[in-house]
């Protein structure tokens, strides 16, 4: 497992470079390379999950510099889980982009290289054990996502794209400021080292570290689309090409992952230190996001917009679990995060299939879809799952979050929000389903039956969601273990740092200079 750890970052990168060198004319080769890369990533991610399920923490020191001086990649249970999720969603999205008519890679340039660079950014962000490298990989995945979002152009897409780009660039600036502030206070950027140093920050610096923690929360909340920083999401997701929107299902999860990794693990959300000041804001934001998402889904006029608002509900629900700052809460949040990524990706792909058969995805009278039984069944499975009804994964996820909430003092509010948003989502989805499949005109659909290949990506990812419910016990054991592992910072330090008591990476001591 030594050099294998860097493959999830290097493979998409080399694939992308190779594709650019090959040029746009050899689209067939590009498609082959793209599928090959996604398939390999899927295999590596599964191997990583199997490898870390024993509790191993793998470290890759780039250039073999000892941490905390050098940059490290860290593979633990949490990182492996996120890698696996990314690989599944990526494989499905690329298949969906290829089977669409016309294929999405023919509607604009450089679809596949951008897609691979996006994967590089995602995998890098999940693997890195260094705060500044997290910033770098965020930039990689964001700049790829900017291009993918406006892929195939169109006025509306460009407009939503510009807003998305500008708001994310402003957030990047804040990220840099917060990282610098943390470095200035603790003298380290390694996340494990940071976790060890944060309790030793001078009491006089407590307000500064509180500020850094909250600025970082603003940045990650923006990526995760936490209300009131979520206003960019519905329009951007609704106008994105559907396979890209499916991949973006993991993008908001990067924000949640970063909150869990940096605030939960690095800054000690569960410790009661000054750096944990983000806790109450996190829970409040999560509750507000879930409510806004539910209201938005209720008011949405098209399936694309509604799915975007359902994303907000899932963000809010996952973050309630993260904000609980307990092992049970984090485990439940991780399960719910996996569930919502898969099912939302499926819904974005179904939106595309339904829209192509009806002519549009608005809840208006339109021609009957060509395959009402097939699409209807898929929609019901997706809707039941995303609304959190038994017996699918949404129900299991919501139940574990409800259980984890039981010991929190805010339990009545949180239960009300979790159950209320589920109910609103259910009503909204019922309205959407009846409008999409039953509100029809006499006009017969001209041709437009989707081939099985076209629907296969959506079916596959829905099946993964069903598998998540079928194998809920082993998966929950895995997420439980991941949450427990995150709480044990000494184990990480022993594995990653050569000298855990190294105070700082600065070449001078601050005391001496003052």
């Amino acid at each position: 497992m030594t050099h294998a750890m860097i493959i999830p970052v290097l493979l998409p990168f080399t694939t992308a470079v190779l594709m650019v060198l090959l040029g746009e004319r050899r689209l067939g080769v590009q498609r082959g390379l793209s599928l090959l890369s996604c398939g390999t990533l899927l295999m590596i991610a599964s191997a990583a999950v199997v490898h870390v399920s024993s509790g191993a923490i793998e470290v890759y020191r780039l250039g073999d510099w000892p941490a905390p001086f050098g940059i490290v990649l860290v593979l633990d249970r949490l990182a492996a889980l996120m890698l696996a999720l990314t690989a599944v969603v990526a494989a499905v999205s690329v298949a969906a982009a290829l089977t669409a008519t016309p294929a999405w890679d023919t509607r604009g340039r450089h679809f596949h290289p951008l897609f691979q660079l996006q994967l590089m950014g995602l995998n890098g962000a999940f693997l890195t054990g260094d705060l500044f490298n997290l910033f770098v990989f965020f930039e990689v995945l964001l700049i790829a996502s900017y291009c993918l979002l406006v892929h195939g152009r169109g006025g509306e897409r460009l407009r939503a794209g510009l807003h998305y780009v500008v708001i994310n660039l402003a957030a990047s600036t804040l990220f840099l400021i917060a990282v610098a502030l943390l470095y200035g206070l603790t003298g380290t950027l390694n996340l494990v080292h940071l976790a060890l140093r944060v309790p030793h920050v001078a009491p006089a610096d407590a307000p500064l570290i509180r500020a850094a923690s909250l600025v970082l929360l603003v940045v990650f909340a923006l990526k995760a689309a936490v209300f009131p920083l979520s206003l960019w999401l519905p329009r951007a997701y609704a106008v994105a090409p559907p396979p890209v929107a499916a991949l973006f299902a993991i993008m908001t999860k990067v924000g949640i992952y970063a909150i869990l990794r940096v605030h939960g693990f690095g800054l000690g959300l569960d410790s009661g230190l000054a750096a944990a000041a983000a806790g109450p804001w996190l829970l409040g934001g999560a509750v507000a996001t879930a409510i806004v998402g539910a209201l938005g889904a209720f008011a949405a006029q098209s399936l694309g917009t509604m799915t975007a608002y359902l994303t907000l509900i899932s963000v809010g629900t996952s973050l309630i679990g993260v904000g609980l700052s307990s092992d049970a809460g984090w485990s439940a949040a991780l399960y719910y995060l996996a569930h919502s990524t898969l099912v939302l990706a499926a819904l974005f792909l179904l939106t595309d299939a339904t829209a192509s058969q009806r002519g549009h995805d608005r809840f208006e009278r339109s021609r009957l879809v060509a395959q009402p039984a097939m699409l209807g069944t898929l929609f019901v499975v997706g809707a039941v799952s995303v609304a959190g009804l038994p017996p699918l994964s949404g129900f299991v996820g919501k139940l574990t979050i409800l259980q984890a909430t039981a010991i929190s003092p805010a339990m009545p509010v949180l239960w009300g929000v979790l159950l209320g948003t589920g109910f609103l989502a259910m009503v909204a989805l019922a309205r959407a389903g009846s409008a999409l499949f039953w509100k029809t005109t006499e006009e017969r659909a001209p041709t437009a039956r989707s081939s099985l290949a076209r629907l296969a990506p959506a079916i596959t990812v829905l099946a993964c969601g069903v598998a998540l419910a079928l194998f809920a016990a082993p998966i929950l054991r895995f997420t439980d273990a991941a949450a427990e592992q995150l709480a044990d910072r000494r184990a990480y330090a022993a594995r990653i740092l050569r000298e855990p008591d190294q105070p700082t990476v600065r070449p001078f001591s601050l005391e001496r200079r003052h």
Binding site: G152, G154, G155, V165, S172, L176, I177, A180
Partner: protein
């Protein structure tokens, strides 16, 4: 020196935020650039301000400056340049598609959908 650095960062941030709140894409890009300059200076300052001391090992040096923030700033400048270039090209695309440099692309203008989906 501390006062000068802090004042410069504050002034850059203030100008950047003001320009970012404009409704046109050109001031917006300028604002983003100023804001990233401010952030870069801030990162540099977090390595503590020092004059005339080397960041890497040198014989006879009286002290050392912190090399890490300098490396970080270098990375941040490269990333900032790339993203600024991208924003400019996106703003140009929006301008040619909608005929206006307003950030909302002239919502409600009749020509806004003339490119449409290909």
């Amino acid at each position: 020196m501390e006062l000068l650095a802090a004042g410069a960062i504050g002034l850059l941030t203030a100008c950047g935020v003001y320009l970012m709140l404009r409704g046109r894409t050109f001031p917006l890009v300028l604002g983003l650039t100023l804001l990233s300059y401010a952030a870069n200076l801030f990162v540099l300052a977090m390595g503590r301000l020092a004059v005339g001391v080397p960041p890497i090992v040198a014989s006879g040096a009286s002290g050392y400056a912190d090399p890490l923030p300098q490396a970080l700033v270098l990375t941040a400048i490269v990333i900032g340049l790339a993203t600024t270039a991208f924003t400019v090209s996106l703003a140009l695309m929006l301008f040619s598609a909608s005929g206006t440099d307003h950030v909302d692309g002239g919502l409600g203008c009749p020509q806004r959908d003339d490119v449409g989906q290909r």
